[in-house]
Subunit: 327 residues, 2 copies
DNA sequence: AAACAGACGGAACACGTTTTCCTGACGACC
DNA sequence: GGTCGTCAGGAAAACGTGTTCCGTCTGTTT
């Protein structure tokens, strides 16, 4: 735990001035190769790592971006964080984490703190697909998953319509012609959008109306009873993996085979649900890590001086498993 | 997006020097109250927030701590992160996130980066309870969940023995006298420790040997078949909620009532498992958020100059639900 | 031999803050 | 009236880096 060496220590050891040492280590200026090597060896020997506080002050940048999330425990925020961190660390940027827990007071506190740290940019993400109010800060911002209500801001979201449509097209391609949809509360944008896309894509093959309830296995199980009371179906497209798992459980309890009698699709590719389900779920992967990566890249471009690009919808990916294909 | 004001701008507007402005804003030095007010008003008017890079350089501290996790997607790391962030943000410290993904190369990269940032301290956490090799950095470190192999380092972990014992004591207090234990791989320390504690606590009431397998629902279901082949039990203490859920599912399929015929306990209080299970699981809550909070507090003390305190085992909490109590 | 170009490296400054030291001014006291 | 003490505030230095500018030295050209 000895004192960390400064660039002047390196310079002294190499027998040059601090500015020369700086040039040698940053591959800038005009120096003899021999001098560069000598400085590098000195730095190596001392285990010198430049103090990024000094660098930040000098360069005007902090090489730091803030990540504001309304809910870091959510299974949506986490892969986004990972992707973002991945893309940022490649560029030697650090990510400071701020979990607002949906508290406006906390949020403004964190914003002040980030501005005080002179972060180079901010990523804002949430756990719902509802657009959210933009934040007012003097640095570039990119919204991930929850877009900004201001269409001029840069936002990156998943293509919910496309995802739901791909699941239904998959069911149609398997010859299913009586397709139902079970999903979360109608008040949730993601549920509404996916339901609309399912209805539209299924066309004549859609049975009844989309069934709205909770995002839970329990509702999935219950929805099966409701559905079968209304007649027969040969496929159920669900708004989440949790619901789909409940649907599968109930169908099995009733002696229906999945997928022989009824094919089932989920949504989210939440592995702990999709893989633990019996049978494992065909589902729509949100590619959130990719979303996080793209978000970070766009932020880096904005920091580099590019202008905001508005809303970007990233494609999802259908992951076929036994709940539609059988074994 | 105009330029952010510096303290010199504030000073100029208030008609004083920069040093006076600094003193006014930090409640230090000897100034007339009137002058202080004038500076404060000027700062307010300009929306001035001190640049923490300058402050960091001047104070010798960065007001930043690093969080190194081997797996930020894990359900263990996340609550720990939240708790730590909670405790740190109260002290105006920021948390920079580093997910090594269990890659030694990444880890050393991040360590260099954190040292370069002159973080005031580092929290190291993992997804397993196995002790891990300490990191070599010139700043205070606290290990959370995965302790350091060096007993002199400060580590904060959950009391695995106590947690498993509390579940078994709960079963005993309900009158169960034929208790089995189903858990994860014997090679996992958490499985081994919990199993040993279960055997010891149950005493004569323990049936057979602990059953080791995967941390999965599938293994839980399978384990029930294995168990019942060997005779009757009236309680199954499980090493994880996933296993417990599988156990419950299989028991129900076989027509056994939970908890009337067999009481079941889980471990982790992973809500998505524990609450979705039929019936909801009595389980052991790891209190990870509290663990994260304590970790951060200890780190702050270390940063403040305290000396390392060695291993700290935090108590767990038994959460009784229907899988042992019935409805 | 003088002029010149180019390579090399150092001195000085900038970044924004905090802190230490110092200068006046003023009143009080001997 | 001179000295001392206190108060108010400014000047300067410090933190550690990067960068700009400028001087020197070497080797080349006329």
């Amino acid at each position: 735990m000895r004192a960390v060496p400064r660039i002047t220590d390196v310079a002294a050891l190499a027998g040059v001035s601090a500015s020369t040492a700086s040039k040698a280590l940053n591959d800038t200026g005009q120096l003899r190769e021999e001098t560069r090597q000598r400085v590098r060896r000195a730095a190596e020997q001392l285990g010198f790592t430049p103090d990024s506080r000094g660098r930040a002050l000098s360069s005007g940048r902090s090489y730091t971006v803030g990540l504001i999330t309304t809910d870091s425990s959510g299974r949506f925020s986490i892969p986004i964080m990972q992707g973002a961190e991945d893309a940022l660390s490649a560029g030697e940027m650090a990510l400071v984490l701020c979990d607002t827990r949906d508290d406006a007071l906390r949020e403004s506190h964190y914003l002040r703190s980030l501005v005080a740290r002179r972060v180079d940019g901010i990523i804002v993400t949430g756990r719902r697909t509802e657009p959210r109010a933009p934040i007012d800060v003097p640095v570039p911002v990119v919204y991930a998953f929850s877009p900004s209500t201001d269409p001029g801001d840069t936002s990156v979201v998943t293509d919910d319509r496309g995802g739901a449509a791909s699941a239904v097209r998959h069911l149609l391609s398997l010859g299913r012609r009586r397709i139902a949809h079970v999903t979360g509360p109608a008040s949730h944008r993601s549920a509404a959008v996916r339901a609309a896309a399912a209805v539209e894509t299924a066309g004549d093959a859609f049975v009844g109306e989309p069934l709205h309830g909770e995002w839970s296995e329990r509702w999935g199980r219950h929805a099966v009873d409701v559905l079968l009371r209304g007649g027969e179906v040969d496929a159920i497209s669900c708004g989440s993996d949790q619901i789909a798992r409940g649907v599968c459980d109930r169908l099995r309890e009733l002696g229906r085979s999945v997928p022989d009698d009824v094919a089932v699709t989920g949504y989210d590719n939440w592995s702990v649900m999709a893989l633990a389900s019996r049978p494992p779920l065909t589902t729509v992967d949100l590619r959130l890590e990719e979303l996080g990566r793209r978000t970070a890249q766009l932020l880096l471009e904005l920091i580099g001086g590019a202008s905001p690009t508005g809303l970007l919808e990233l494609p999802t990916e259908l992951v076929p498993r036994e709940s539609t294909l059988g074994t």
